[in-house]
Amino acid sequence: MRPILLSGHERALTQVKFSKEGDLIFSVSKDHIPSAWYSANGERFGAYKGHQGALWTVDVDPTTTLLATGGADNTMRLWEVKTGRELKKWEFPTSIRRCEFSEDGRQLLGVTEKRTGQLSNVVVYDINPDPDAEQTDEESLRIVVEELPRVTVAGFSSLGRYIITGHDNGSVAQWDAKTGELLNEVYSHEDGMSVTDLQWSADRTYFITASKDKTAKLHDTQTLEVLKTYVADTPLNSAAICPSPTEYVILGGGQAAMDVTTTSARQGKFEARFYHKIFEEEIGRVRGHFGPLNYVAVSPDGKCYCSGGEDGYVRVHHFDPPYFDFKYEVEKEKQRELGF
């Protein structure tokens, strides 16, 4: 795999996202300026200037028209992708930890930070996909998370039916996206070990969570049942699902040097780890970063993945043919059976 280094950020990366067509990468870091890049060659496409604090989150709508960002300046902002124009700024009492569009791009959610006197909330806005339209100030829904611990991650399910949240005690919850009613709650990860990421399958009928408990878990969106578990040897910050027909998941994490005990066999372990999605086995690792991987994302076309590191770099890896050809014997057997 030939890696491309996206150099431009001055601080640790916090989130990286592909456009739904796979041709652009959007990145946010602690340096206040969201950036866009061509995934094919790593050239910069644009920058979005206006935020005044570290950024925690970024997402892009299905047509790559609107970009959403959020961070430590207590704002969530909407931008026009191709011009860099700021279209909307929503202000909150605390920082925005996560934002995400629904699969149709008509809704945007934000997760606000829990702080003294402030609960963590999930706020939802209806979005007008026209970049020249006025965007609303009115929340269409607010979930005040009182009974459950702090929300760390959240997203919309298929059909925008549910909002799924991950929490800093390792639990995962399902809410009615219309009424905000809590429908289901499961304790997927070790108690007290934060859920650090939640990423969807292409059709959003299942999702993967990453946790500080060193595991990533695949969940059924409908039932929240844990379908698969991937066991790593380091706290995880992120997990991504490769699109079909490739049956892999990619995990990223690692501990900062100062957190690693001297007895640790391999300091840090700053590698992207590939696991077989169905058989739950590790099949390979990709090195490169000099610090923990804070986020991993896979292109929706499956042709490449990228990782954002604590070291301030985004690395883009385009897959070589053997990556696509690798199959377990039982998979080959199944393909023959189906007449491929």
């Binding site: 739904k20 496409f45 009928t205 199944k334």
Partner: protein, 68 residues
């Protein structure tokens, strides 16, 4: 004897994987069919807007993006 043990252990692994694969494929088939049905009932296209974006990109090829 060791060889025989190893071979039966391998067989068990392969059998387990076969079962995992079958269960996964059956589950996917069921869930995908349910989703298509639900989308049709709601009067929606079979695939979501974000998945459709990929198909459009495939057909359209290069050079569609406006450079800043």
């Amino acid at each position: 004897l060791d060889q025989a043990k190893k071979s039966s252990a391998n067989k068990a692994v392969v059998e387990y994987r076969r079962q995992q694969l079958e269960e996964w494929l059956a589950w996917r088939e069921r869930v995908e069919a349910e989703l298509v049905e639900e989308r049709q009932e709601l009067g929606l296209e079979e695939i979501s807007e974000e998945r459709a974006a990929l198909l459009v990109a495939d057909e359209g090829g290069e050079g569609q993006k406006v450079v800043e």
